[in-house]
Symmetry: C2
Subunit: 689 residues, 2 copies
């Protein structure tokens, strides 16, 4: 067995760049360029345009995640952990829906999520030429960036009223596309299991397989107070997919960094990731300390701690990938191959070769500012973030549309306002604890004389400044926020709200850092990343998908177990396994079962599949993505990756190494809805009687 | 989690030798020197002499394995894989007890195992002084060895009639003990589950945990055709042990090599283990090829293939341990510490320091002969082995007792004859295939002019020589073997049985190699190993147990799960897990369930514990050992180690690294006997009604 495994690794190493790119079920592909050739050759799968359109229009974009329409009446299936922010907003101390779960037997009982919104990608167009032409007229990288930004703003403005338009950069700026989204702003909760059922095994079992999580939730979008008509929905499969079945995964993967240069990866490995870890650990520690105060504090802090634990475990896996010399050497070999092939063509080489040096230089300058960039932030407090956004809003909206920060362009203002004015609850004690601890850490790290620290604190102690700001601010009231937004710059300038005053003081420091970073790093990376993308197209053609960027992608693979250590890991788990894992631990948390599951033990067909694994190329953001069979049916909901797959942020990890995506099985969801949650009305809507 | 794990490893490395030896639940201790101090200090456990005596007298020695008396009527519990050789001998093509299992409802139905025998350690005495004094009178290592051997033979001869006596070397010859065994030669099969239940998951799940194996079998010893009276039996626990419970494991661990020098370990790593792997792989391939002929061939080859697969997987794990530079460096540090401390005492140093050099030199000479030593063997065929044993028997028994090979000393002849005359079935096709393929490989490796190859084959082809020998020999008949044994040397010299002729031809070659090895390696290692052991006693005292050597030992630990990768592994599994693993694989073999288990699904309490893990220090040979609680009750049967523990042949692997022994839970066995096998009479004998 050892030998077999080593052999797989050796083969893996032996394949050089870039031929390896075409060997595996890799890639999160755009819908304009799906991997039709691979599908046909390897799986004899030739979807019609209608099939692809339907999958696209059924794929629902959540903030940072995915979902799918599963009935013609606006019903959405997604993961519990995707909807948990929504569920938390609907929860109170007295009615803890996260803990206890929820089911609306009738539409009348469905709960409207404060500030809930989702969207679908209605249509798209290639605008690369317009954007590139605009940038080409620039006299420097910085001037090109300004011209590019202005052109993008102009393109986005030319948008049908009912839609929201966004210009998307692909291939490090090698392509630009105009995406038009239909937005749904009335989202209601239909059904959610208990968090303990959805997240059974907790952080321990996160990124682990075999797995036993009922990580699903059902929502419904409304228009004009009626369930939205969603004719482009995917049918729910009552049986799911067998071993070996071909599937696609459609969703909104967050971010990969596979087209980064070696110098960018080196920065990530040596500076960026360790710093990010420090930031998240600081935030997590604050929440952990806070959560120990009492049960209510724990309830408030739970979603944040869970999210940070997830981020940290993922980051550690990614960083382990970068620290793996074999993987890193492969990346270096890939870059060398491209640059060597480029060197054979003198003209191309002259044009593109300097791009790598320029990016390397930018990344060499970055570490000197990295701590400041990471810690000059009020982001650990929602109130402070609101204040900062209001202050910046007035500065930015005073400028012409094309010169603003992207998030303040006219086309995004509606979404910005809706988020800012959300009545979602704010917990003052947690705000105060989080921001105070953050400022203490920032002062420790940056020093008392750092511009941000000085602007925020002056000569005072963090507890004093933050305590006053949190206790005395009126920003907890959405109406106050609205009046400050609508009051114009004068209202801000004269405000004596201590949180607004804090935000006003740090605004110039944060702005200067952001500007420095854009000028010296981001613009350089964008301009030269575009050049490298063009070089890659010139050498290899457009044979790879672009890096993921929270936009719609389609991936594919098969249901398949794998070898781990010296044994086999099965392609699926069953309800037997859920009870085994709970009882094997004597139900020690986080391996305890909610009462509903305990009570249903004799009713459930324990052999029903619960979770399963498949080889598709996914990443964070794909949570809630439908796993779809050839017939276009939903056979499961993607909800995780195993450990082996974590470093696929930087490169696709071969399926032979056991990298797998993890899904909740569609038959397991039906069994749970019927036998554990008595949600027969919902089952009927999904699969009929 | 990553950090936590690394921390454990760092701590592990930071502790220097030899203090680490006392930190953990390590050691397979002799009953003359149990770790009473550790038990008292760590677990407040102070067993009486009676408690220890009872455990010793209930611990049953199998050939290469262990078991335990569990009723006063001679009932033995052991692993199925320990008894599988017995079960195979009772099986025929028509009645495949390995495949179908067996249960004798009454004693009359119990099946007597051909050549079955087991023993217990009745008493023991320290004879170190006698043996050392004899050796001291020698004029060289070789002469000392002769004198030592003669003294040992003399001690062994002075033995009560009813017992079998053996002088055991401990601490590389630092101590010698006379062990007196009571032997039982009438062993009968009482109950065995199907091999598929006992070995569910097959070679894949071997050395793997979580695990779901019903790896148990019940036997009974008889005396004078009646169940033997065994008042020193251990009570069976109907409930087993909870998480964290202190347990001891009593049994016959096979072999550790923790007191070897760095030069010996280097030889193992670079030459010995790779060569052993080659030998076993050669044998396994032969059996695999043979097993493909038909179902009956597969049945015949299965036990051998399973045993080799097990050996190979273990060897790979051990070799991985040796190849781990961190572990190896720790071993080097330990040796350096001992030698440094020795160097501080001039007199001791002069006496003992040369021992390391002598062993290093012997191991440096060994590789030149290693291939010959490994491949000059007829051991792949049982018939050829019988022939070789008969030929050697007459040469050896012609000598004075003290000068013979140890296995031909008077005290061992009865066991030798009983094994040689066993009527266990011999499969001619398999014999022929195995020996032919072996000779082909030997000729390839050693060359046609090698003395062994020439003696065996002359100018002929392996198929020709072996085919004739296997087809025409009369040794399949135990009566013929007996007449050759009793006929004296002349009968052998004049025999025209082609298998005897083959054995006669190779005998001088094999003898010369064995003599070379004894003179140049084994005697040197023994003499100098003794010196090093004495040096260790002088520097540290007798604070560690001796290496395991297939003799009775007692180990201890607690039931405890562990961290693996980033999650937790539970301390036990349940019957839920058995069904989960089977159904998760769609019952793809080796994850299929026997019909009996499928049929019992609704009858079994699925939450009953099935397997469990604990921190005790065990190794191959401990299979079938009872896991015992403070009250002296059997809470399970040891049957495996996990992967993390495999390299504990060379050093104890810290429990923080997740190394665990794996047992079948006593409550799981009761549940299986009752609900799957309807063996209520057996349950009554174990725990009463």
């Amino acid at each position: 067995m050892f030998v077999k495994k080593c052999l797989a690794l050796l083969l893996f190493v032996a394949f050089g760049a870039p031929t390896f790119l075409a060997r595996a079920d890799d890639g999160m592909w755009t819908f304009d360029n799906p991997p039709l050739k691979q599908w046909k050759e390897r799986y004899n799968f030739e979807p019609s345009k209608g099939w692809l359109d339907k999958v696209r229009l059924a794929s629902v974009k959540f903030p940072g995640a995915s979902g799918v329409f599963v009935s013609s009446n606006g019903l959405i299936a997604t993961n519990h952990h995707v909807a948990s922010g929504f569920i938390e907003r609907l929860s109170t101390k007295e009615r803890d829906l996260l803990k206890n779960g929820f089911y609306a037997k009738t539409q009348a009982e469905e709960l409207k999520v404060p500030d809930g919104n989702v969207s679908i990608l209605e249509s798209y167009d290639n605008v690369t030429e317009r954007v590139h032409n605009a940038a080409k007229s620039g006299t420097s990288d910085a001037d090109s960036a300004t011209k590019r930004t202005a052109e993008i703003a102009a393109i986005e403005k030319d948008c049908p009223t009912a839609l929201r338009c966004e210009v998307i950069s692909l291939y490090s700026g090698g392509e630009y596309w105009l995406y038009r989204f239909k937005r749904y702003t009335d989202v209601r909760l239909v059904m959610a299991p208990e968090e303990q059922a959805a997240f059974f095994g907790g952080d321990y079992d996160n990124f682990v397989y075999p797995r036993h999580d009922l990580d699903f939730t059902f929502l419904r979008v409304y228009e004009n107070d009626k369930p939205a008509a969603t004719p482009n929905y995917l049918k729910w499969s009552a049986t799911g997919a067998p071993d070996g079945e071909f599937v696609v995964v459609s969703g909104y993967p967050g971010s990969t960094a596979r087209l980064l240069t070696v110098s960018q990866l080196t920065y990530q490995r040596d500076v960026g990731n360790p710093l990010q870890e420090k930031v998240w650990k600081t935030r997590r520690k604050v929440l952990e300390d806070y959560s120990k105060r009492n049960a209510e504090a724990q309830r408030q802090a739970n979603p944040g701690m869970r999210s940070l634990a997830n981020s940290l475990k993922r980051l550690e896996g990614q960083q382990n990938g970068l620290l793996n010399p074999r993987n890193f050497a492969r990346k270096e070999a890939e870059e060398k191959d491209l640059r060597d092939k480029l060197a054979e063509k003198a003209e191309l080489n002259k044009q593109y070769a300097p791009a790598w040096e320029a990016i390397a230089k930018a990344n060499a300058d970055l570490p000197s500012k990295a701590n400041q960039l990471a810690f000059s932030s009020l982001g650990s407090s929602r109130l402070a973030t609101i204040a900062q956004q209001i202050v910046t809003y007035h500065i930015e909206t005073a400028k012409p549309d094309g010169e603003r920060y992207p998030e303040f362009r006219d086309t995004r203002l509606e979404a910005f306002r809706s988020s800012l004015l959300s009545p979602a609850p704010i917990y003052l004690d947690m705000e105060e604890a989080a921001l105070t601890a953050w400022m203490v850490e920032a002062r420790n790290l940056l020093g008392a004389n750092d511009p941000f620290v000085k602007a925020a604190l002056g000569e005072a102690e963090p507890a004093e400044v933050v305590g006053k700001a949190v206790r005395e601010t009126k920003l907890t009231d959405p109406a106050v926020r609205r009046s400050l937004l609508d009051g114009g710059a004068a209202a801000i300038a004269s405000s004596t709200d201590p949180m607004i005053m804090l935000a006003r003081r740090v605004e110039p420091v944060v702005r200067a850092l952001r500007d420095w970073n854009e000028k010296n790093v981001i613009n350089v990376e964008t301009a030269n990343g575009t050049r490298i993308a063009q070089a890659r197209f010139a050498v290899y053609g457009k044979n790879i998908p672009p890096d993921a960027n929270s936009q719609l992608r389609i991936a594919y693979g098969v249901l398949k177990g794998y070898e781990e250590d010296t044994t086999l890991v099965p392609f699926r788990t069953t309800f037997f396994g859920l009870y085994d894992r709970a009882l094997s631990f004597d139900e020690m948390p986080p391996f305890n079962l909610p009462a509903s599951i305990k009570n249903a033990r004799t009713k459930i067909d324990l052999s029903t599949p619960l979770n399963f694994v498949y080889t598709a190329d996914t990443i964070g953001g794909n949570s809630g993505s439908p796993v779809i069979n050839r017939k276009g049916e939903v056979v499961g909901l993607n909800f995780d990756s195993n450990n082996q797959k974590l470093s696929n942020r930087y490169w696709y990890i071969e399926e032979a190494e056991g990298s797998r995506a993890v899904g909740v099985h569609s038959a397991g969801i039906i069994e749970a809805l019927r036998k554990i949650y008595d949600a027969n009305e919902l089952v009927n809507e999904l699969i009929g009687k």
